[in-house]
Symmetry: C2
Subunit: 401 residues, 2 copies
């Protein structure tokens, strides 16, 4: 058995960010930049007004002074002339400051009688002027490679005049559920059978992490069938099998994969739930074999598949982020396997986060898994914990997981 | 001017969750349930083994005893007979417990020599047996209406035998950018012009919140053009206009909308940035008029459009969730407008969250907005704040915003 950290590092080691592709700006949300984005223009393109009001010379803005309005500059229609002493130009937010002006008088600080504009408030030079390039200048790197694009970054890329962006391709993940007992939802269920829930959970998790899932037809428990099914994963960036990962007589996934020259790296991790997880590859195709218990499969997917999806997309990839919470119940000393307790979250009277494990931690309890808000991490051989002691947790109620 | 809370409440008040539709389980991730999901089967369907091993009578499991293996029960192939005294059946995780057995001996606690199975470890009755219905029982409500479906909940719905789910329709949001100065990325930019960034930011934010954006062609600053463009929003659940929301001579959005019988509810909110935001409706079509400054538009979208998208999808809708952080810099006393300072996050030596506002808070600084990790909320007339004092913040670095 190897540690969780070693398993993750060995899974990630051979993975490389996928090749880039060009996508329209409107399709780029949540995609990961494969190249930095450089501003193609300067913003603002010139000194512009930050408010609606009157462009003038600050020296003229004596309270009580009356200026002569010589024109106006609505946004998109710059004033072509030059403003002289005692003159003003009506201006609007975003309009270019006319030549000769050095400040903006707010419209609420002025009284207009036809072209006669009376100043009711002094303004210092530069008042309410946004300077050329204050937001960004042509040639500035405004977004870095490796960023998962947010709505705000999409807006910034638009402002910098990018109709297209270069992003890493989405990882194509083939998902192969195995087992004679497995039916799809709505199909007839064989005696002793069970519905394939893991494949749907994993497919949604792949989507949540930015990948594209392909559900392969469910494979019966026979090496030939599994071999044939695995052959259908050609072209995927990663093959995820579900079930048949342990050592029972009927755990035939390894046998099936081996007919394609499957090279096993490891299949036992010192963790709970989810000890039997296969990792290896068929030629260049990485293979992750999740255990069949739903909770084990889901937790292995969070700990190993999500980082793999991150690495394939060019994101930083490693252990899921943890935060600290206080224990809401006593925890026993842990054995030699890293444990991942399903837990709910609350706040104590001081507003601190409290994580309370469900009394039942059975690895088949999908209903509790779906209600869990976090996983409490228990390191191998961790000492007993009293209520109120600090714990490391992985939040589950984020990112649609 | 009305408060942020009153504005949000008046925007949300007329909105109802959209009608339901049926989607395939594989398309249901992040959709919002319009009806509860009831288990269509019992899980486990019978008492099943939690481990690979041997089913037996606990009374027979004396260390040193040798039992006779009378058959096996791989998952999906239940053992048809009844197990008698001194007998055992080879069993695997998820297999139905044979009649007559009441416990499971782990395979690592047994020695097999052909059909002779020697017990190396006593087992109490019920050991390693998952009881029928322990996860859920047919007829149980396993998911409630109003849940935004996570990957784990998709797995649970699958396990409960649902190939289809009933969800609220996605809100169709028409987005109308206005302004003579506005060009699309890659198009030629007029003199004094600017790229439409807000519409792309808002479109991505609509996607992030589960809606479907439609970008209407950019409308010039003329009431006729805006009226014609707004007519193209027919069929949308909400029309978002951008720009032209304030009182300047060239703010013609209200004039244009009024040709369609636009009924204005309000257009001034006591907030910064983003004071001029229009809310009203054209017949049954709600209209939200965001200000033209990129940061103002984005913050109004977070404060008002996101809750509207939540309400339309049947989610709880209200103020964005806030958490507490400590001030990373002194803050001045606030005036009568609620302020929303763009800020970065860090942790102090005690691990507490610290929010530090950018020195520049100009509402045109899209580069800073895209780097912000949170908004610091400053209530109207809030007192000055010293570094280290508690603040309420809205996280921006979540949900792809």
């Amino acid at each position: 058995m190897i540690s969780v950290e070693e398993a993750r590092s060995r899974i990630l080691q051979p993975l490389q960010p996928l090749a880039p592709e060009i996508v329209a700006l409107s399709d780029a949300w949540r995609r990961v930049l494969a190249a930095p984005v450089t501003a193609r223009l300067t913003q603002p393109p010139a000194d512009v007004s930050a408010m609606d009001g009157y462009a003038l010379r600050a020296a003229d803005a004596e309270p009580g002074a009356t200026l002569h309005q010589i024109g106006e500059a609505p946004a998109g229609h710059p004033f072509a002339g030059t403003l002289g002493a005692g003159e003003t130009v009506r201006i609007f937010t975003g309009s270019i400051i006319p030549a000769g002006a050095d400040a903006i008088l707010l419209q609420e600080d002025a009284s207009a009688a036809g072209p006669a504009i009376t100043v009711n408030q002094a303004v210092p030079p530069g008042r309410h002027i946004r300077r050329r390039g204050e937001d960004f200048a042509e040639g500035n790197i405004i977004l870095h490679a490796g960023a998962r694009l947010t709505a705000r970054q999409i807006g910034l890329a638009a402002a910098a005049n990018h109709p297209w962006l270069t992003v890493h391709r989405r990882p194509q993940i083939a998902i192969l559920a195995t087992g004679d007992e497995i039916a799809m939802p709505g199909d007839s269920i064989p005696p002793g059978g069970i519905i394939s829930s893991n494949s749907h959970l994993v497919a949604a998790l792949v989507r949540a992490a930015g990948g594209v899932p392909t559900l392969l037809p469910v494979a019966r428990d026979h090496p030939d069938v599994i071999a044939e099914a695995a052959a259908q994963a050609t072209g995927a960036d990663l093959l995820v099998t579900i079930g048949g990962a342990s050592v029972g007589t009927y755990d035939v996934v390894q046998a099936g994969l081996q007919r394609h020259g499957f090279a096993l790296d490891f299949w036992k991790i010192a963790m709970r739930p989810g000890k039997p997880m296969i990792s290896g590859h068929i030629g260049a195709l990485p293979v992750l074999g999740l255990p069949g218990n739903p909770v084990s499969a889901a937790i292995c997917a969070v700990l190993f598949l999500l980082p793999a999806l991150h690495r394939l997309q060019g994101l930083p990839a490693g252990a899921p982020p943890t935060i600290q919470a206080l224990a809401g119940a006593p925890l026993r000393a842990n054995d030699h396997r890293a444990d991942h307790l399903r837990a709910t979250l609350s706040r104590d009277s001081a507003g601190r986060l409290v994580a309370t494990p469900f009394p039942k931690q059975d690895s088949a309890m999908l209903s509790l898994l779906s209600q869990a808000e976090c996983l409490i991490l228990r390191a191998p051989h961790a000492a007993p914990v009293e209520p109120g002691a600090p714990l490391e947790i992985i939040l589950l109620n984020t990112e649609g997981i």
